[in-house]
Symmetry: C2
Subunit: 194 residues, 2 copies
């Protein structure tokens, strides 16, 4: 089977994406880390529990710093998070011929536009796969709940390895009120197989 | 497993969609027929070959007539085909709680807009699933070729049960030049499992 690198946070979405892709591909999970927190450990734990190979890719702290500046200037996180996501996808595209993520139909962030997908695929000669892109949150949550044991909680409280965790930390260091930029929302973490 | 109704033409895309969905759902294939051609038979043949339950849903010829009028007026098929697709999806949504199709990332037609998906799901209380929506043509063709034996040919020549076949027939009856509305393109039909 061909190898696909899937960006992985340990949450519902990327775990379900891994499960779906594993029907057709040899799935390798990648978690980005920016030298701010060790939240990648939670992703590795979840990856091990659901039985996938997992690796961490270290990036410079400056990527999160730059994204945080964008977020502070914008007053909302969309562009900053997309900036990080493109950075990480591009790095994966230099290593792997197939690169995937767990973005879903209802996601606004992170989200590649059609032109960004085309440029990513053409620039690196890769295939980009977003297996949840045609599934709504209800469908995804029902499937994930059937397959995984899931821990749910407010963002910022649950142990989760998405970009938000490290951005929050940088905003705190800069003495910004995190909740002004990230409204409270539910996050999930996969803690077992059913 | 929950039952999902997948709109099915016998081609690459809807066959791969069936294969993907079957990991999580009891997949029932549906092919629309508008009393113009018996092209649904090719879809049934392909469905049987790949081992899925298949049913035909008959619709009034007037649906294709109305779509053809739109296509003649527009000079291109997009809106007419989307009109038929929405009609068929809505009918399936009255029968099934989960409704799927094989539309893919690079498809312009048929394609539901985000607002159309929301209205379909809300109006009928269903989930709409498009499992190929996050996959490009290259990824889909590689996967389909691995799983299925495929016959390829020019549109209008290959035996295929998509809406185009019956629209072409109506345009011919009305003495229009079909090629003015449907530029020649490749179509595929699944004729076996590998």
């Amino acid at each position: 089977m061909e190898e696909v690198a899937l960006l992985y946070s340990g949450g519902n979405d990327s775990s379900l994406a891994a499960h779906m892709l594993s029907k057709y591909y040899d799935v390798k999970l990648l978690t980005a880390s920016f030298e701010i927190l060790d939240s990648w450990k939670y992703a590795k734990e979840s990856a091990n529990i659901i039985g996938f190979e997992h690796e961490v890719r270290k990036f410079e702290r400056s990527v999160i710093e730059e994204a945080s500046e964008m977020i502070i200037k914008d007053g909302f996180p969309k562009n900053g998070i997309n900036f990080i996501h493109r950075h990480v996808l591009s790095a994966a595209a230099k290593e792997y011929k197939l690169v995937a993520d767990g973005t879903r139909r209802d996601d606004r962030v992170p989200l590649l536009r059609r032109s960004e997908i085309r440029s990513l695929e053409d620039m690196y000669g890769i295939e980009y796969i977003a297996p949840l892109r045609g599934l709504g949150y209800k469908t995804i949550n029902k499937l994930a709940t059937k397959i995984f044991k899931i821990e749910e909680g407010e963002s910022g409280k649950i142990q989760h390895a998405d970009y938000e965790a490290e951005i929050r930390e940088v905003l705190k260091e800069k003495r910004f009120e995190v909740k002004n930029f990230f409204p409270s929302h539910k996050q999930s973490r996969v803690i077992g197989l059913r």
